[in-house]
């Protein structure tokens, strides 16, 4: 009879949750409603917090609890509330108008996931003495894919606000990579990163508001006169 706290069981839970995170990321890249997008991001962050908590329980890394709680508070609750309030304030609820349509976006996201797997494969292959504590390379591949898809989404969006969302999901990918490779960085670094994200969201929120005030639109593809 295996203990419930068997690390291999934990690994499976993490992999499963990571797969759901990836699905949410692709959904975010493909769907068209702004508010839904914000909520998907909240859900994704919640799952990340869950992953961090799982690793903390099964692999005996208690300081990851702190990261999990912070993720939950900041990314899953605070940031979505802030962003939704901003959407209310500037009075838009309309669709996102991406450059590339949904089916093609999903295809590209699939290709980027493949790229993520190729890259993570090579990292594991080149270093056979990876520490036994590290999680399976599935999680790393998902993390890299999250990063790449987030980047792609950022390029694909016209509005500054939706780009902010994409940037945040990209940052989620980085977070997943750190906890899957190293069980999270020292607490002080984590705190710094979270504070950073919060400040970034606040600054971006103000900036988006200003851009809208000045240009009557959030469409950054209209800001072409900045060229030299």
């Amino acid at each position: 009879m295996h203990s419930v706290l068997n690390p291999e069981f934990g690994d499976k839970i993490v992999t499963l949750t990571a797969a759901m995170v990836l699905v949410l990321q692709i959904a975010m890249a493909a769907q068209r409603w702004l508010v839904t997008n914000i909520r998907i991001f909240g859900l994704q962050s919640f799952l990340l917090a869950f992953i961090a908590g799982t690793i903390a329980v099964f692999n005996g890394a208690p300081h990851l609890f702190m990261a999990a709680v912070l993720t939950l508070l900041v990314k899953a609750i605070l940031v979505p509330i802030l962003l939704e309030r901003l959407v209310d304030r500037i009075g838009i609820r309309q669709e996102i108008e991406p450059f590339i349509n949904a089916p093609l976006s999903v295809l590209i996201s699939g290709a980027l996931t493949l790229a993520g797997y190729i890259v993570s494969e090579s990292i594991y292959r080149s270093d056979p003495h990876t520490s036994s504590a590290a999680l399976g390379h599935n999680t790393l591949a998902v993390a890299i894919s999250l990063f790449l898809i987030g980047f792609f989404t950022m390029i694909n969006r016209r509005k500054a606000l939706t780009q902010v969302l994409a940037l945040l999901s990209l940052e989620n990918g980085l977070f997943l990579a750190t906890i899957s490779l190293t069980y999270g960085m020292p607490l002080i670094v984590e705190l710094g990163v979270f504070f950073d994200v919060l400040v970034a969201v606040l600054v971006l929120a103000i900036l988006v508001y200003r851009i809208r005030e000045t240009f009557d639109s959030m469409d950054v593809s209209r800001m072409r006169r900045l060229q030299g």
Partner: protein, 679 residues
């Protein structure tokens, strides 16, 4: 004998202090003048002392400067070759610093004197370091500081459009040259496994032939830009005239010699026996530069541009010496190679001195008449006798007339070329007499050009009100010119006593000492090394000139006192009342040559006459004449257009769209990731 490194470090510190003094006294013209240029004078004297001590001992000193970045050593080496160029720098620095006291005094905008002093000292400091750096990295740093200081000095009067354009042109070409040097240095560094010049010694000749050729050509072009060889000379006639005159004197005197120093260092230190084609290339470029330089100079009426073209000519003469030395070295004649090398190096110092003198003279004239156009000068010899005399000395020296210094080095060049015909049986030997003949043509044209420059500027009647009101310059300016004029005479008459200076240099480069073979009859006669070759005695020529000048006096004493003297007006063809309008102009003077060489110049002339009644009685005539700027039109303009067209196409990349920029980053990232994953 004081320790050379102490003298040398003192010289560097004093230049540094001068630069700081210039900055400190940025808005105090009087302070800047005396402090910055006084310190520059002290530094130059210390520099002379250090280089004379090194040349006298014939030794090499190597040490590290007590400053710098940890990884790269800021090593300095004072070997005979470096010391020789430092000596030239010291002499010029001293003379120009003295000249600057007066030159800056009644300047129109004295508030900038501090900035001028800062960059002036920085230029001198970086030049000393260029001549002595013993590490490729340090050398390039010093070289860049020199280029930037020169740029700031060239664009000093930046309120004029012409000045700004010349400055930018200089900067672009200078950096292109540095880029070529950088590649060559990296090629050498890979082969040597280090950056020290000592590890480059004779290294280049051990590399495969292709690499050897690439290094040679890259260095030749890279240093050639600074030296001003044709066809990469175009910055020179643009930048020299617009700089303040004391700066143009320094630039033409010594900054372009940094290119010559670099070539000497590469050709005779990094290379052991260079391939024969390398020598032929240098000789051919030298001949072309000398001839075209003087031909373009002849057509100039801007006094300082004329002098700038003569710099190109003289760089060509120096390179004829270097090219011949390289060829003799490849053909296995080290003694002849040594003579040619001595000729080139001696001409380097001589040209530095007389060209600096001429630019200072031109500066004095400019100062007095406020124009660079020779057609508006004239009659200045009566207003500014000392300046005129000094300019005349410089003009005689640059024309290669005995007994002054230009004659000695050109004579040595001829001797080396004439002896070259017997060194090989292959067709290559035709190069030597051909180069000699063209060098003779160059010298003759240079003499014609300076008859024009001196005659139109200083003789006859003033052609404008400014020339009428010109006054002699300040004492310190005259003193600065006089020092250099004395230098021209001393290096001409005392050539045979100066030649032993080259012994340690040729010993180091080619393994032979030539001074005992070159000097005969207790130093009163110079011979060209072998019994069959020619001999010359500048002292003898000077003595006979003096004796001949006594003859008319004796004749007058014998018969003249008894004969009747009458004085009358100047012959005026029966049209009394000669004015400046009757004078020969510079354009008219150079007309015969413009017609002879019209295939080269492709002159364009336009005459427009306005008349009221009959075309035979015009009320006004407008005459316009210009020559085609061949290199600008056929070489630089096409390149410029290509680059601009390419740049225009590249602008599409800079769409100004955030999405496009993000996409560039993204695509690059993906490619790099996949590339890394594959590897």
């Amino acid at each position: 004998m004081p320790a050379v490194d102490l003298l040398f470090n003192a010289c560097l510190s004093v230049f540094l202090a001068g630069a700081v003094a210039g900055l400190v006294s940025l808005w105090r013209p009087a302070g800047a003048r005396f402090l910055a240029f006084g310190l520059a004078l002290c530094g130059s004297l210390l520099d002379i002392a250090a280089s004379v001590a090194t040349l006298a001992q014939g030794s090499t000193l190597l040490w590290n400067l007590p400053c710098g970045v940890p990884v790269f050593s800021w090593s300095v080496r004072l070997d005979p070759l470096s010391a020789y160029f430092c000596l030239a720098l010291g002499i010029l620095g001293a003379a120009v610093s003295i000249y600057s006291f007066g030159y800056l005094r009644d300047w129109k905008k004295p508030r900038n004197a501090g900035a001028l002093g800062f960059f002036y000292n920085l230029l001198l400091l970086s030049l000393v370091l260029v001549f002595t750096a013993a590490n490729a990295f340090f050398f390039l740093v010093a070289w860049e500081v020199m280029a930037l200081a020169t740029y700031c000095l060239v664009s000093f009067e930046h309120e004029k459009e012409e000045t700004r354009q010349a400055g930018v042109l200089f900067l672009i070409m200078s950096h292109a040259g540095t880029g070529l040097q950088l590649i060559a240095f990296l090629l050498l560094a890979v082969a040597a496994g280090g950056l020290d010049f000592s590890s480059f010694h004779l290294l280049a000749s051990r590399l495969p032939a292709g690499e050897q050729g690439a290094i040679f050509v890259l260095f030749f072009l890279g240093f050639g830009v600074k030296a001003g060889i044709i066809p990469i000379h175009v910055w020179l006639p643009a930048a020299h005239p617009v700089a303040p005159s004391n700066i143009s004197a320094l630039m033409s005197g010594i900054v372009i010699k940094a290119g010559i120093y670099g070539m000497a260092r590469v050709f005779f230190d990094f290379f052991d026996v260079p391939p024969l084609w390398a020598g032929i290339l240098v000789l051919a470029i030298g001949v072309v530069s000398a001839l075209l330089g003087v031909l373009y100079a002849l057509m100039e009426h801007d006094l300082k541009r004329l002098l700038a073209y003569h710099s190109i000519e003289n760089i060509g003469i120096i390179l004829i010496g270097f090219g011949a030395a390289l060829m003799f070295h490849s053909l296995g004649h080290p003694t002849l190679a040594a003579i040619a090398l001595i000729a080139g190096l001696y001409h380097t110092l001589n040209h530095a001195i007389f060209k600096c003198l001429l630019f200072l003279g031109a500066g004095a004239v400019l100062h007095a008449t406020h124009t660079r156009n020779m057609e508006k000068m004239g009659g200045l010899i009566r207003k500014m006798p000392v300046t005129a005399f000094c300019f005349l000395i410089g003009a005689v020296a640059i024309s290669g007339l005995p007994p002054l210094n230009g004659f000695v080095s050109e004579w040595l060049t001829y001797q080396a070329l004439l002896a070259g015909f017997g060194t090989t049986q292959s067709l290559t030997r035709v190069m030597f007499p051909l180069a000699g003949a063209l060098l003779a043509l160059t010298a003759a044209l240079a003499a014609a050009c300076f008859v024009k420059a001196f005659g139109i500027t200083f003789l006859a009647l003033p052609r404008s009100a400014e020339a009428e009101q010109a006054r002699e310059t300040a004492f310190s300016m005259r003193l600065g010119m006089a020092i250099l004029a004395v230098g021209c005479v001393v290096l001409g008459l005392g050539a045979s006593w100066f030649l032993p200076v080259f012994d340690p240099i040729t010993q180091q480069a080619l393994g032979v000492r030539m001074s005992s073979a070159l000097v005969a009859s207790n130093g009163f006669v110079i011979s060209a090394g072998s019994p069959r070759s020619g001999t010359i005695s500048t002292v003898g020529i000077a003595a006979s000139l003096l004796l001949l000048s006594i003859v008319p006096v004796l004749l007058w004493l014998a018969w003249g006192r008894r004969s009747r003297r009458t004085s009358g007006p100047v012959w005026d063809c029966g049209l009394p009342g000669l004015t400046a309008a009757n004078e020969y102009t510079a354009t008219a003077f150079s007309k015969p040559l413009r017609m002879i060489f019209s295939a080269l110049y492709r002159p364009r002339r336009e005459i427009q006459a306005e008349f009221e009644v009959s075309p035979y009685y015009p009320t006004a005539i407008r005459f316009e004449s210009e020559i085609e700027p061949a290199f600008e039109k056929h070489l630089y303009d096409p390149i410029k257009e290509r680059i601009l067209a390419l740049a225009n196409r590249m602008r599409a990349l800079q769409a100004g769209s955030i999405h496009a920029y993000l996409a560039y980053i993204f695509i690059t990232l993906i490619i790099l990731l996949l590339f890394g994953a594959r590897g």
